[in-house]
Amino acid sequence: MSTNRALEGVGTFLDDRLHGARGIRVFLRKVFPDHWTFLLGEIALYSFIILLLTGTFLTLFFQPSMSTVVYHGSYTNLDGVSMSRAYDSTLNISFDVRGGLLMRQIHHWAADLFMAAIMAHMIRIFFTGAYRKPREVNWLIGIILFTLGLLEGLFGYSLPDDLLSGAGLRILEGVLQSIPIVGTYLAYFLFGGPFPGTDIVPRMYMLHVLLIPGLILALVTAHLFIMVFQKHTQMPGKGRTNTNVVGQPMYPYFMAKTGAFFFFTFGILALAGAFAQINPIWLYGPYNAVAMSAGSQPDFYMGMLEGALRVFPAWQWVVFGHTFAFNVFIPALLPLGALFTGAAFWPFIEQWVTGDKLEHHINDRPRNAPTRTAIGIAVITFYGVLWAEGANDILANHFDISLYLTTEIARIAWIVGPIFAYIITKRICLGLQRKDVHLLEHGVETGIIRQLPNGEFIEETRPVDEEARAILESRPHYQGLPEATGSDEEVPAPGMRGAIGKARERLYHVITESVPLPTNGHADGHGNGHAIEGNGHSVEGNGHAEPAPAAVPSGPGQSGNASDDEPPASDQL
């Protein structure tokens, strides 16, 4: 028991001074709901920790200097070549420091994994509606973190001053120059004069190892504190309500699982660093302004910007002796800017359109918010087309099609693709909802065929079990738009008047469009005829006129949900 006494002694010492017993106990039994998609954010977090660890190692050997040296190191292919100290020290890390190459490769893989995990995490948050009140602040922090991650990555892979990343910096210079009025000043201030100068690597180094990681660390901390404070969302299920959180406690369960997950992440990255070569700067050679190789590609998270620059037509105005390089600053700033701005405003737009000011702690199944899901897929399509266009030379080469054709396709697809994606996704979501409704109404097919006395064959079904029913019946709950009060229904409520009010109402119907649940399963009745579920005929297009099972009350009289003048959808057919 001496271990126990020692622990007790430490605990007493700390609690006497820091008063932690109560608070830490609460934290130890904090409940963490389980779902595989909740791991995506953890991957991002652990990649970031791995970046800090491996990055710290790299700073011990890297020299952020652009002064010229002549290489006489272990990589004999570059013997006698003059290069910057930054490139020279990166070669030394790769070939003369034991474990240096491994740390470099893990660092680079971890950066890619960090960005990929952030993207996947954001996509999960969006499609499940986990950004809704009260989590809008964390959604915004996430968008800022993503932006910082982009910059951090760009500066990071440009540090070795190799031929490939130098081309990236050259593009950055060109983009800055194109910005009206202040562009050339920005470029000269960043590079300390004309490109490339000798200032950019030390400056990027400071931004990469100090300023941006510091900001990311601070924001990640805030992100996690808010998450702990607000408690995690949970997936719908039996016993899970908007006022509880069901899962396993922090100590020892979550602690052990998340610890294991950190090791998995690190282990996978270590194997990637061992087997998968990444950014072999010694093959690219040191930067010079004259040379360039074909098939140059940035890291994947920059691909969308690259694609936007490739796809945009050559538009430019020269007015009053000044150049508006639309061909550069629009694709460089607009698509990603619109994406981030739209993402930042989306929770508030949705709140305004639906009039919904409630807290949401149960995640939506994506199919149950068809419009949101369709918008999400449309945005992903938009992003995806530009991202693929960022590698169009590789695609053209690989699939043996004309390079220009890929760009022409992308020029159409980045506009038409999202529209189709929206329409198709929405139809799929509504179809899946219909399948859910069918399951609720008719039960699960058992595969048992029975012959009735009259000779008819029927397949037996069994009702869905309670767990499944809880999931199938979970639907986003909208508070509803402000309604006209009093007897005068002709006068719209405040906030619903004028053109904006009309548009809002129309958007409301688009956003809340859903296949109505079977009436007996949906007891939280909107009693009046305005309930959106009443508009089922717009989506309930298929004519399943077969008799409803006895369990489902189909008569208008039994349905608490439908008003007198609005019979249930199945009766209209």
Binding site: L28, R29, S82, F95, D96, R98, G99, L101, L102, Q105, R170, I171, G174, Q177, S178, G183, T184, A187, Y188, F189, L190, G192, G193, P194, G197, K231, G239, T243, N244, V245, Q248, P249, P252, Y253, A256, K257, G259, A260, F262, F264, G267, I268, A270, L271, A274, F275, A289, V290, A291, A294, E306, L309, R310, V318, T323, V328, P331, E359, D393, T407
Partner: protein, 373 residues
Amino acid sequence: MSDTNAHGQPGEPARGDDLMADLAAAGEPGAGTGRAEGPHAPHRVIGTPAPAEARTMLADEPEGRAAPRELPADPEDPVRAKRAERVVAALFVLAMLAGLGFIAAYVIFQVHTVNNTLHSNLALGITMGIAFLALGAGATIWVRHLMPQIEVSEERHPLASTPEARAAFAETFEEGAEASQFVKRPLIRRTLIAATVPVVVAPIVLLRDLGPLPEKSLDHTVWKKGTRLVVYGTNRPLTPADFNTPGSSLSVIPEGYAENDDALAKAATTLIKFRPGQLQAPTVMNWTVNDIVAYSKICTHLGCPAALYEQTTHHILCPCHQSTFDAARGATVLFGPATRPLPQLPLTTNAQGFLVAQSDYREPVGPSFWERS
């Protein structure tokens, strides 16, 4: 079953509170008496039984004290648990061995050549990967097969403060504001605001020396009348006779600037030899020598070296964003996002017969910028 609190009152203590006590109790003999199902019940879900069931179970418990949780006193299947324990221990031993292997690999495998580095990298990465994966796998099996599987429910409380708390906050805030007299004394308020403006602006001013102003520097390159063209890489000057294979192209730079990246970033030039008659307007014929034409190598889109030249079509392609220029026709844009042709460098030969520039480029090279007219 003390934790079915879906219907809990806000004032009630969260029922999850007693988990740790219960976990401890679960280990003691007899702690599980009175549970509804035997220890063989697989994956007992605690926390979300139907309300009726929960009530029945609560009724068994003494009043006023939180009930011990229904945890199996021992693993459901001692044989399986023992096996899981051995697997976990084996994985931890493997992690330890791999960790030691990492240290050994660090000592054994030297670097300093490409092959040695390859072996060192593989040895270090594999041992490190195995160590971490084994640790992770061990911990996961431990949680899933040895720890009793429980699920608890914790109550959420509305995040908004109570109206009383908000009112009290507002009162305190107003009291403080009143005490500070910030509102009452506009003189202080306005001068304070006036004082903060320069404090905010000053750091921005401080950034002014990050770089010189561009002035007219973007309009010019280092080429001037009489500068010899030298081959990039060898720095050899050229005569038209040295460069007489139609269809070939060369990167050239101004003589004396081979080590000056700032100069080359604008002055890099592509030299292309054509067959007689192939060059057409708008190529400026007076700026060519023996069907040799010189274009800026700096792409007018974003400044990448427009490095790819296709002999048969006379296309110059920039590998960055695929702007394509027609070298036979004044490097006009055929495709891609570039808006302007690659500027043409006026060529001539000097008294010794070497190719030289007649002058600088007659227009700014490289990407568009605001001050460019």
